[in-house]
């Protein structure tokens, strides 16, 4: 006995426990009625499966123990029994029916059609999420904020490693929220375990799902459908707040938008654009084109020394704004503010040995954005 404990202790000592690691074994119960129903159904089926395996393996190992040649057990003529065959067809059928009742009920509930209070369109992009509050003039991208240094093991990983974004999806509790999911490029899947919501975002088509959150809190999830290189780096953060806080937040966002619009009218020096541009680049471009501008050719070409970055600024702007159809290059026209676009283009033209020396003014980008 003591030996066993010692061995187990040694085993534990050998496993370097990473901080925050929590040995979670089971589903979260979650914070919505759906997630609780799913959890209960999961537990029910789990117990049934455990019971089945105890019985089945029990019989088998009992037989293995007793019906051995080494114990002198002789084999019996026991190789056909219609009664038994019928029995073990009917009993599983009954068990399945027992499972199917609550499963069907849970499925019916998940297709709830009651009218929603808030509609949010979720669009998957390689590799970020975009949230558009329908009926509110509010629309933003949500991008991973975990620093590259943490991913590359150059600095210690924080508690929410890979599960943190710049702008979370903010929603009120106790309201029916309807999600409309689609994608800009490939198939993604929007998944937040605590809400028990997982739905594919499919380019060209729109999918529907809903939730009603019972508790205030921050709920984190990840993209669940392989969507290319940075599939593992496009998390989802949902911040559930009270209705009052939600209203305040909405007002704040609208105010911010106005400030942003004003910023593009301001006078920007090249130095200021370069500083800002580096940050924008790291956040939006470096995943593919790499922090050193070398890219991963041929899918993700280098910007350092590229004909576009060294060529006419109009072409450069068009490339960043519209993207490159038929390639992995997405258009950033909607995603970034005019200032950000101007800054990142200025940066790309004057970094890593690119020495064009010119700059793009945010007002030039505004002209292109004119349609909005």
């Amino acid at each position: 006995m003591f030996k066993k404990v010692a061995v187990f202790g040694l085993f534990l000592a050998l496993v370097p426990t990473v901080a925050f690691s929590d040995w979670q074994l089971n589903l979260n119960r979650g914070v919505t009625d759906t997630s609780i129903a799913v959890y209960d159904l999961h537990m029910l089926v789990l117990y049934i499966c455990v019971a089945i395996s105890v019985v089945v393996f029990g019989v088998m190992f009992w037989s293995i123990y007793h019906h051995r040649k080494s114990k002198g057990f002789e084999s019996h003529e026991f190789h056909d029994s219609t009664a038994l065959e019928i029995l073990w067809t009917i009993v599983p059928t009954i068990i399945l029916i027992v499972i199917l009742f609550p499963a069907t009920k849970a499925l019916i509930n998940s297709y709830d059609t009651e009218e929603s209070d808030i509609d949010i369109q979720i669009t998957g992009y390689q590799w970020k999420w975009r949230y558009k509050y329908i009926g509110e003039d509010l629309d933003f991208f949500s991008v991973l904020t975990t620093p590259t240094d943490e991913i590359r093991n150059k600095s210690e990983k924080n508690e929410n490693y890979l599960l943190e974004v710049d702008k979370p999806l903010v929603v009120p509790i106790n309201k029916k929220i309807r999600f409309l999911l689609t994608s800009n490029d490939v198939i993604h899947a929007w998944w937040v375990p605590d809400l028990a919501v997982k739905k594919d975002a499919i380019p060209g088509f729109i999918n529907e799902d809903w939730t009603r959150i019972n508790e205030v809190g921050i709920y984190r999830g990840q993209c669940a459908e392989l969507c290319g290189k940075d599939h593992g780096f496009m998390p989802i953060v949902v911040k559930a707040v009270t209705q009052e806080d939600y209203v305040i937040w909405l007002a704040e966002q609208k105010a911010l938008k106005e400030i942003e619009a004003a910023a593009s009218q301001a006078d920007w020096s090249m130095e200021a654009l370069l500083v800002k541009g580096e940050g924008v680049y790291i956040k939006n471009c470096a995943a593919c084109h790499q922090p050193n501008g070398m890219g991963i050719p041929p899918v993700f070409p280098a910007i350092k020394g590229s004909p576009i970055a060294l060529g006419p600024i109009g072409t450069h702007l068009a490339t960043v704004f519209e993207g490159r159809p038929g390639t992995a290059m997405a258009g950033f026209g909607e995603q970034l503010s005019s200032v950000d676009i101007a800054a990142v283009i200025t940066y790309q033209r004057n970094a890593w040995g690119n020495e064009v020396g010119d700059m793009l003014s945010p007002t030039d980008v505004d002209k292109l954005k004119g349609g909005e």
Binding site: E115, Q121, T123, Q126, P203, I206, N207, P325, G371
Partner: protein, 171 residues
């Protein structure tokens, strides 16, 4: 039948290869019928007068998206309208080509809930045709539709989404 010969087995293979392709039209028909993926049928051929249900209103939301290959402003002129069953409605979407490149775009419709898709009839829609968009052009594109009286009673809100794709033929 002499199944145990290579020829009939190869024939089965050929049939199944064809079946794989047959799944494509079958799927399309099935989707339009069942509204899978929110697929809508093409232009609606009105055979009889639409039934108007006076006391039933449904909210119809409009959403404009675009594919990665065409990131331009594309929006409905109004985000939501209240629609009476059976009454024709017109809405418009506006698209802007802010670039110096002329393209051909195709809008792909999709309806949520998908259950409602077979009951949303489009009389006229910019999605029926490919839309040439000249450089710098701002275009208003119309949509005329009505809702069928057979729309399931529990549906009170429908979202009609269009995704704009660049389908400019390669030169």
């Amino acid at each position: 039948m002499q199944l145990g010969r290579p020829a009939p087995l190869l024939f089965i293979c050929a049939m199944m290869f064809g079946f794989g392709f047959l799944l494509v039209p079958l799927y399309t028909v099935f989707c339009e019928w069942a509204g899978i993926n929110g697929k809508t049928a093409g232009a609606y051929q009105q055979t009889q007068e639409a039934i108007v249900v006076e006391d039933r209103e449904v909210k119809v939301q409009f959403v404009g998206n675009h594919n990665a290959n065409l990131s331009w402003p594309f929006k409905p002129n109004q985000a939501q309208v209240k629609v009476q069953i059976g009454v024709q409605n017109q809405v418009k979407f506006t698209v802007v080509n802010p670039t110096s490149r002329s393209v051909v775009a195709q809008a792909v419709p999709s309806v949520a809930p998908s259950e409602a898709a077979p009951f949303l009839h489009k009389i006229e829609c910019f999605c029926f045709r490919q839309q040439p968009l000249l450089a710098g052009e701002v275009k208003e594109m119309p949509l005329v539709f009505f809702l069928d009286a057979k729309l399931p009673a529990h549906i009170k809100k429908i979202t009609l989404s269009y995704t704009l794709f660049d389908v400019t033929p390669a030169i």
